[in-house]
Point group: C2
Chain length 393, copies 2
């Protein structure tokens, strides 16, 4: 073989982009529990525990609740293709990249798409959604709860009403909200909901938790055509995760160990305490940014995600330069914008382990230092001073 390749030994970054996020050492430790057979009784017991903890995190009683063996986009695909047959009508509320991805998937599986666009950085206007779907025989209405590309948190109550009015299933992406922002799958009437392991759950990427209610499972069971994907066919995958425990595909055993431990950590903190921690970190961070004269991209404070914080890049400041300097000088990763927001916003994840006073203050201090280099004018120290108040004395 070719010249020998060195082992991986990366410097430690602080991951404050929109994911992957920081991972607790306990999760890493769980991941190296030696691999065990996927049909081993001990492993199956561990899966049952994991499923129960996922149900508690999604706030649901749904039997069909488990992680898909792929990253968030595999969850998105599973959440759509299982419930749509060719020529079924589906509507997507679009305000960013990830809802756009849903549209692509719906078209690939032959669905008839109604795309309801709203300006990036705003939540959808329920009246416009209602009007767009009026008279349609809608099978599924899809939306993104926390749009990772814009930092908007879409209120779900109005969408549920519209889904109810039209008889559609309500499908919601909670990739960057699950565990970090209030979400009540059962109480809010969400039929299909998926997330990712690598955001507020503070686990490495590789798993996409999904939960499916009985109404949606009925739709799946009554299909006239097979689901286009064998790997993501929930009717088959559920046979492994359900009481049958029959083999479908070999799941990513060690990733599941990690998620099990991540959910235990969340359970120990308490879900509502985690939501409150994410909220406080977000408010403190915003207060700090505004004290520096920076502007949040999402103007309406009521629809800002607490988890993905989007900041307008100020005039005269170079987006990529600031991010590169944060990495070079402080080993902090934040991200730029996607699609139409490229170069226009920064995206900061306060998710899981980084939703704390220490990381908020550190990032504000580092940002002040780097912005000072860029020639942007502001009161040095004002950001940290405004944020620190949120964390008590």
């Amino acid at each position: 073989m070719a010249e020998s390749i060195p082992p991986i030994n990366f410097p430690k970054r602080l991951l404050m982009g929109p994911g992957p996020s920081e991972v607790d050492p306990r999760v890493y430790r769980a991941m190296i529990q030696p691999v065990i057979g996927h049909m081993d009784a001990l492993f199956l017991e561990c899966l049952a525990q994991l499923q129960q903890m996922l149900r508690e995190t999604f706030r649901t009683q749904n039997a069909i609740t488990f992680p898909i063996a792929g990253t968030g986009s595999a969850g998105m695909e599973a959440a759509l293709i299982n419930f749509l047959e060719p020529r079924d009508e589906a509507a997507v509320v679009v305000g960013g990249v990830f809802a756009g991805r849903m549209c692509e998937i719906i078209e690939r599986c032959g669905g008839k798409l109604t795309r309801i666009d709203n300006p990036w950085g705003t939540a959808a206007d329920p009246d416009r959604v209602r009007q767009a779907v009026r008279g349609k025989k809608l099978k599924l209405l899809a939306a993104v709860h926390s749009e990772t590309s814009t930092g908007v948190c879409q209120p779900l109550e109005p969408l549920r009403q519209i889904a109810q009015e039209t008889g559609a299933l309500l499908m919601v992406d909670t990739v960057s909200s699950l565990g970090g922002m209030p979400l009540e799958v059962d109480r809010w009437g969400i039929d299909i909901c998926y997330s990712g392991s690598q955001k507020c759950l503070a686990c490495p990427p590789g798993l996409a938790p999904i939960t499916v209610g009985e109404r949606a499972m009925e739709v799946l069971r009554r299909r006239r055509t097979p689901v286009q994907s064998w790997y993501l066919d929930l009717g088959m995958v559920e046979k492994y995760w359900g009481p049958e425990r029959s083999y479908h595909h070999t799941p990513p055993v060690n990733m599941l160990f990690g998620l099990h431990e991540a959910l235990r950590l969340l359970q120990q903190e308490g879900l509502e305490a985690s939501w409150a921690r994410h909220r406080k970190s977000h408010l403190a961070f915003v207060a700090g940014l505004e004290a520096l004269g920076l502007k949040m991209f999402v103007e309406d404070t009521a629809v800002r995600a607490w988890t993905v914080n989007t900041i307008c890049v100020p005039a005269g400041v170079e987006d990529a330069k600031v991010r590169a300097r944060l990495m070079e000088r402080f080993q902090i990763e934040i991200a730029g914008g996607l699609g139409q927001l490229k170069g226009r916003i920064w995206r900061v994840g306060l998710m899981g382990l980084t939703a704390t006073g220490s990381t908020v203050l550190l990032l504000l201090a580092a940002l002040e230092s780097v912005l000072a280099e860029s020639g942007f004018g502001f009161d040095r120290g004002a950001g940290v001073a405004a944020a620190e108040k949120f964390f008590g004395s």
Copy 2:
């Protein structure tokens, strides 16, 4: 939340089933390198190294060579749906469960399937394959190299000739052979080839390495219809793994760290040395089994996989009981048969770390001990004595 769930602390098993297999401690160590951003320059460099090592393992120069973010079946699905459009003709050589799975996937994506069945436990008769596809406008001919459900290793040279005669792409599953048995993707003219991380590569499950030649990529690029899956669309995924390095989905970063280290281990041993080690372990194990009066399920020694060893359950011996006792008394996992072979065979993986003299002798000794309980008559010690000769003095 509910009563608290304990951390995972499983006893150590010795995994000698058909996968997942044992994992080297170095691989676990690499997996807990703290997660890093999927667009981080250091990570992208690590991916380039991983791709180069995968090319060497597949024995190919194919640019399109990378792990799919899912387990082996995701690799199978990607290897089929990217190259088949509705009504395209595809033929599958079937001699076990996994080739049967290919047929299901082809039908789900609208392909016109020619299924060429041969008795489980035998390799395909090239003349029958040739006859079955004669006159068809075949786009793809698919086969399983080492059929994990039967232990047959299908010779690929005759299939390549048939693919050439018909102008079809040759697609081969090497889930349980890659790294453990000779495989020469370029020299053998394989157009599409995939595997899994959890067999001879001795990594946990979660990744499916795939390699695609230029001829197949041309077929993909000339499609008239989009690939049905967004997640597994290789034309999009390659943009992340190719020089563009543009974001598609977040890959399972820590699993990739693990595979990087597993491939480094293989590189250090040498690929051909690894093949030879798997062959010797297989021959020693078979000699031991035969000395005990046990019979291999695959009669033709020329088509036995070295990696997945299948043994006929002797008359009067309870399949499940023997496996349960191996686990209870020695913490050794082996597997039973799948489908029509349920209750009829045992499947023993000598893959990666278990393809060694020590594990072969240990398993034979344990099997002797457990078989003695079952009332099966044989010379005690004969198995170990016959096998140990293979490992020098």
